[in-house]
């Protein structure tokens, strides 16, 4: 067998030369000082491959048009096997790639590895860094949720501010009039057709240049014997890659990537924020007012990039030990403090309460179609802890499976049973439910909607929705208003309220309806703050 493999190897080598090339590659001499600080480049290449793999798989179930993108992503998240994992890997992989590429640059910068004759290697590296950011920018739009849409609106407007080029950049990005099908197609095309081959090509050039000039030595290396790349350095690279991959995998499994509601250009309550690695730019922009804005949005970032590219020509001194490069270290610390400070400032100034009351659309949202009465019933179902004996998500419980009772019980029977379980079903160990008649009514209304197919989706709504529906129901809002086709037509239907009014308007309206809606016969309402928050959250997430 060994002999056969050897012959096969020789045969391939003779025809292609690949085994010899691989051997030359692996047994490259590297300086004695090589070690753990040089693993970041390999990790970055690995992450690029992970992004390519997960990106291709996502594309297999994704339709790149504004009409379908959101729904196909929801399909990936809620229905496709391992879909959530793939999206998690791709999402967190993008962030991780930014981090690793930045670490790689910092290492090269600190060691002065960009110096003669490695200037071209550095410059190609800076372009690769910019490409990594471009993936983040173009990929941000693709989920086509509110976050994606509004983030891209801001991005294209910033591009439009660029001196001289602004108008052309906007046209290039398809953002001439509004963000729509053209912008989407361009962003998607860039993200999957142009950027990956460009990245692959530049990585090849980058690695070629690294090999051509050899790994950068440090002063003192020349007196020590050189090492081989394989296996010791390869093992270090592999271990670093493994650590990065483990962190990425754990994040993909454990940290949920939310999906917000479908992109809505008419949403007046949305607060757009860019991805974390662009937050510092977003914050920096706040320091420049009026005509100076263009300086913060395009001139300064442009100069920063130029400075980065020109680093090898600015610092042309001879190679010295990393521990003596105090100026370089100071520059890195300064950049980190500046970046960190701006990012922190942006995080702190982001209003919080909105985020806590957001719905995660990467879960089934069938509960949104429930009437207020049914949703309030779901609220009592949760508050009374019914699921501890009647699990709705499959699995055995003490009590019967309630997803199958709707077909053979009536609401009247259920209410009798809630009040006196053993009286209606002798031998039942269920305790009576201590709720008023109207509350029991809503609970029965909810249970009647359950079926084995929809149960999981119907009980998965966030707490504030349930609490909001309970307030709505308790106040009898449905006596005048309609929600999801349930209720009366005296007042306006409340579906799609988020499109028409701001939260503060609605809040004020509760206090004094005729003041804001002249002629309104709605009485004033005064709620405890908690009830008000829940009710508003509920009303503002009603589907159209």
């Amino acid at each position: 067998m060994r002999k056969f493999l050897g012959e096969f190897n020789d045969w391939v080598d003779h025809r292609t030369g690949l085994p010899t090339a691989l051997r030359t590659f692996l047994y490259e001499d590297i300086p004695a000082s090589s070690g753990w600080h040089q693993v970041f480049g390999s990790v970055a290449i690995f992450l690029f491959l992970v992004q390519t793999f997960t990106g291709a798989l996502l594309a297999f179930n994704y339709a790149p048009t504004p009409g379908d993108a959101y729904n196909s992503l929801r399909y990936i998240l809620t229905e496709v096997t391992a879909g959530r994992l793939m999206r998690g890997l791709h999402h967190w992989g993008a962030s991780m790639m930014i981090v690793v590429v930045a670490l790689h640059m910092v290492q090269v910068f600190l060691y002065g590895a960009y110096k003669k004759p490695r200037e071209a290697t550095w410059m190609v590296g800076v372009v690769l860094f910019l490409l990594t950011l471009a993936y983040g920018l173009t990929g941000y739009l693709l989920p086509w949720d509110n976050r994606a849409y509004w983030g891209t609106v801001v991005t294209t407007r910033i591009a439009a501010q660029a001196p001289f080029l602004g108008a052309y950049l906007t046209r290039l990005l398809g953002g001439d009039e509004a963000i729509g099908v053209v912008t989407f197609a361009r962003f998607f095309g860039l993200h999957v057709l142009l950027l990956p081959p460009a990245t692959a090509l530049l990585i090849a050039i980058h690695v070629y240049l690294v090999r051509k000039h050899g790994v950068a030595p440090v002063p003192g290396d020349e007196s020590l014997p050189s090492k081989k790349f394989y296996p010791q350095q390869v093992l270090k690279d592999t271990i670093a890659i493994f650590v990065a991959f483990s962190v990425l995998f754990l994040m993909a499994v454990m940290v949920r990537v939310p999906l917000e509601q479908l992109a809505d250009p008419t949403d007046i309550n949305y607060i757009p924020r860019p991805e974390w690695y662009f937050l510092f730019l977003f914050q920096a922009l706040k320091f420049f007012k009026g005509p100076l804005e263009v300086i913060g949005s395009t001139v300064l970032p442009g100069l920063a990039v130029l400075l980065l590219i020109l680093v090898p020509f600015i610092d042309r001194s001879a190679m010295i030990k990393v521990t003596r490069r105090t100026f370089a270290a100071a520059a890195v610390v300064l950049a980190m403090v500046g970046w960190g400070g701006l990012t922190m400032a942006a995080v702190i100034t982001t209003p919080k309460e909105e985020a806590q009351l957001a719905i995660d659309y990467s879960e089934p949202t069938d509960w949104m179609q429930l009437s207020p009465e049914e949703l309030a019933g779901a609220g009592y179902f949760r508050a009374e802890n019914c699921a501890s004996c009647h699990p709705l998500t499959g699995g055995a419980g003490v009590g019967p499976d309630l997803t199958r009772t709707a077909t053979h019980r009536t609401a009247a029977w259920m209410i009798q049973h809630f009040k006196s379980p053993a009286g209606v079903r002798p031998g039942s160990s269920m305790p009576p439910i201590q709720l008023s008649d109207s509350q029991l009514n809503t609970l029965a209304a909810f249970l009647l909607k359950l079926s084995p197919e929809n149960a999981t989706a119907l009980i998965s709504s966030p707490d504030f929705e349930l609490q909001g529906a309970i307030v709505y129901q308790a106040q009898g809002c449905g006596d005048c208003h309609k929600v999801n086709r349930a209720g009366q037509d005296v007042g306006p239907s409340l579906n799609g309220l988020a499109k028409r009014r701001t939260r503060s308007w609605v809040q004020e309206h509760f206090a004094d309806p005729p003041k804001l809606s002249p002629g309104s016969i709605m009485p004033p309402y005064k709620f405890p703050p908690r009830d008000m928050d829940n009710l508003l959250a509920y009303l503002f997430t009603l589907p159209e």
Partner: protein, 175 residues
């Protein structure tokens, strides 16, 4: 990957045991990572979606109109779950009253390669124009390359109305 370094005596090469350990660790770690990506990737592509949405029953016609032993092609609209969409599409079925209380509905595609077949009233057989498969009125294969009898819709009768459910292939049907 090559197992032997070109010069065993060069000073940069470590002792064989440490070297063997390194090589084994490299292979092991890469195998684990490829599996951690590859297996979910395969599951993503190959294991069908959890079906949360079901196709509804659709009304196909009045069975009192059916003449025994005379197939009737009926058209109807049905909602089909297509990936992330539910599409409403025109669909057809061949209804046959085999006996007074046995009405069946065949899927309109030949079980060979999916061509549309038709009923030949003179020969009283279903004939597929593509590769000359021939089916009898009860759906069984009489001639040609068709591998199994005609596929049937799941059916139920409500009053006089025939309701069609999902298509069942004869292999999943108890024969």
């Amino acid at each position: 990957m090559p197992d032997n370094p070109p010069q065993m005596s060069s000073p940069g090469v470590q002792q064989p045991t440490r070297r063997n350990f390194s090589v084994a660790a490299i292979y092991g770690i890469w195998a684990a990572m490829l599996a951690a990506l590859g297996l979910p990737g395969a599951a993503y592509l190959l294991i069908p979606s959890r079906i949360r949405r079901k196709n509804d029953w659709v009304e196909a016609g009045d069975i009192t109109q059916l003449v025994p032993k005379v197939p009737l092609e009926v058209a109807f609209r049905r909602n089909r779950v297509d990936g992330w969409r539910v599409v409403s599409e025109k669909s057809t079925a061949w209804l046959v009253r085999l006996s007074s209380n046995d009405v069946v509905a065949y899927s309109p595609q030949c079980t060979h390669l999916g061509c549309a077949y038709h009923w030949d009233q003179r020969r009283t057989e279903f004939i597929c124009p593509c590769h000359n498969s021939v089916f009898s009125i009860d759906g069984s294969v009489l001639e040609g390359p068709a591998p199994r009898p005609l596929d049937r819709f799941q059916t139920k009768v409500e009053g006089n109305k025939l309701m069609l459910g999902p298509i069942q292939t004869s292999s999943s049907r108890t024969v």
